[in-house]
């Protein structure tokens, strides 16, 4: 069965680069040596009132702001539904409540951390601020979290008989404690390179840490769209052969040949365990294809694919491919068809076909 393409009307990303302001988001390029690409926090007072903002943790402010700005840029006051994903929710809030629980021995606890660490708290706030009483859903599934949100949005727009706008997005937070914990399961490299040199160190396991919030206003109506997400596939720990079959399949679904792919957005993360998967994706490129990547700019986290989708849409908008994201230059003169292949530390892979909309 074919699902309705998602027309992307607006995209807002808060990342370690200045993607929030979009123009010149790589000027200057931010890099780090300690393996932790924390985001650049924008001015949060634009979308949240001063009384509410005082009690909010940074993840809540970040998720709300990215979502509201996406709606704002799309010119949509109230969407028909809100679909948000997060692998771990507001980690800081969880840590605050858990530490208090342990240190105060379960006495006189402040409920704020408990409430804000609830995985759907950003959903609730976005619904309140956009007065959206419609469909509201939260996915929490590791490396497929954003993908499930996009999948649900596609499903919903396929079911719809009339024009609809949905707000779909995902966020995750990096904290020092979370970094410590994930280091112990080889999520991050033992010898941390400068972030810009991440891919030169792909002979060792792990990546570098990151965080971000990525929201997209999507519709079944192409009016005002900059790009469309035409297909989406989630491959669970694929072998190289399974990934190849997945790529063949998604290209065929969209009547695309390898030569038609102008850009491959590659979620390479410098982890030796995913190198063969990354190579498989790159081997599918023709001479036309420019290969770009982004995890040296935003780091690796469960919803990092949001940065990749933001970048794919950005390339469609601007028709310019910055050298800072390019790892192989192709001959194609325009950005029409993009294959996005995201590999995660756990070995899961998501594939998306994104096409520019004029």
């Amino acid at each position: 069965m074919t699902m309705q393409p998602l027309y992307i009307i607006s995209a807002c990303s808060i990342t370690a680069q200045d993607t929030y302001n979009r123009e010149n988001f790589l000027n200057p390029v931010r890099s780090i040596d300690d393996g932790r690409l924390f985001v650049i926090d924008p001015d949060y007072t634009k979308y949240i009132n001063p009384v509410a903002i005082r009690r909010m943790s940074r993840m809540l402010k970040r998720g709300i702001t990215a979502g509201m700005r996406s709606l704002d840029e799309a010119g949509i006051k109230t969407p028909d539904g809100i679909i948000v994903g997060t692998s771990r929710g507001s980690v800081t809030d969880m840590e605050i409540f858990l530490h208090e629980l342990i240190e105060l021995d379960e006495q006189a606890l402040n409920p704020a951390g408990f409430i804000q660490s609830t995985y759907n708290s950003v959903n609730g706030w976005l619904a309140m601020l956009s007065k959206c009483t419609g469909y509201n859903q939260t996915y929490v599934h590791r490396g497929f979290t954003l993908e499930l949100c996009l999948f649900d949005a596609m499903l919903m727009l396929s079911e719809a008989k009339e024009k609809k706008h949905l707000l779909a997005g995902a966020f995750d937070e990096l904290t020092p404690e979370y970094f410590t914990i994930r280091t112990k399961i080889n999520y991050y490299k033992e010898q941390l390179p400068n972030s810009l040199n991440l891919y030169k160190h792909d002979d060792s396991t792990g990546s570098i840490g990151g965080e971000g919030a990525h929201f997209f206003t999507v519709s079944n109506d192409p009016a005002n769209a900059t790009s469309s997400l035409r297909s989406l596939a989630m491959l669970q720990k694929p072998t190289v052969a399974e990934l190849q079959a997945g790529i063949d399949n998604i290209l065929k679904e969209n009547n695309l040949d390898k030569e038609d792919i102008d850009v491959l957005v590659c979620g390479m993360n410098g982890d030796s365990r995913t190198r063969s998967l990354v190579d498989t994706a790159i081997n599918n490129c023709s001479a036309n294809t420019t290969v770009v990547n982004f995890k040296h700019l935003g780091g690796e986290y469960d919803t990092a694919s949001g940065f990749g989708l933001w970048l794919a849409d950005h390339l469609c908008r601007t028709q310019l491919i910055p050298s800072e994201v390019t790892c192989k230059v192709g001959t194609s003169a325009s950005v029409k068809n993009i294959l996005f292949c995201n590999t995660t530390i756990m070995g899961n892979v998501s594939l998306m076909v994104v096409t520019s909309v004029n």
Binding site: E106, L109, I115
Partner: protein, 403 residues
Amino acid sequence: MAERVVVTGIGIISALGTGMQAHVTALRNKQSGVKPISLLKTRYANDFVLGEIRMTSDELSAYAGLPVGDNGHTRTALLSLAAMKDLLEHVDIELLRAEPFAFINANTVGGMSKMEDIYMDVLRPDTKQENIKYIDTLDCAESTERVVNFYNLKPFTATISTACSSSSNSFILGARMIKQGIVKRAVVGGGDALSRFTLNGFYSLKNVDKNLCKPFDQNRLGLNLGEGAGFCLLELESDAKARGANIIAVLSGYANTNDAYHPTAPSPTGEGAYRTMQEALAMAGLETKDISYINAHGTATQNNDAAEGLAIQKLFGTNPPPFSSTKPFTGHTLAAAGVIEGIFSMLALQEQMIIPNMNFETRMEELAIQPATELVENAGLQHVLSNSFGFGGSNVSLIFSKP
């Protein structure tokens, strides 16, 4: 009209026991699973009552077919495995391997039940070896992946977390995917294990009654927490009939809306709950008079019962169908509440019984209606409405109908 999605298998574990029959017996005999604390390690062990599953994690491991001891499975994952095991006693696993299916799980705090015990050790440079096994179990997808891997399945997988409505949302996603032809079948549900984190979270919000909870009672003081897990098999009615499956109930309507009112409290007029029930009825093509029993969310918190009670009264009038909260039996099982109470709704249809709202004494001042307090047999039930509402303004209603 689109083809109907039906439920053809049920797996359940709660404070009332394991499997459908244990639950039918307990509900019929008014045997509550909410008791003084026996397992949860908390300073309030002598103060609160909980709907605990009276099996240690080792006992659950043994039941699920895992080695006992530190096997890397949190209690949350073990409860999910136990519910799946129960489901697979009624469903041939090969059915799940033969054709595309979705496994949609729901969860609110992942493996917090374990992580809160070992967190400080996990942060130390020399974390104990036995704790390393649990180090990445805090996220909600952990139990989902554990079930899929244990049974060597390759489904479309998803994990949902919308607080106390989480597993009701699993039903909705599963049914939508089946109707769109993306998968042939879906196993939907969710689970949560008790933790100090959630107990203290609700306690710090002054939402916990130290004694037995009293849903829809004027003098209610809050909820009792519980734990559990449940999974149901969904498929198209025609597919179920073609393979001669026993159809337990039809999932004839569902709705998901948001209050857009407050981070944790429902809109006081029950507007959100009202609209959700109304949308579910419209989808099922039913009128209010067609609903023969409502399994309410009924947490026994001040806010929920006032809002839900007003919503029921507004939609169904002052002479509504019998309604009850079954949380006095199981405690509030959070992410599992939707699926467990969905199963109770189907059980009510199958057994033709109205499950009583225990511990009720005094009608609420603001309401002209009150819950059903006595067990009714041969109740002539045709359609049952099941509500689940959660933090973040999340509202879900499901309607189950007699096949």
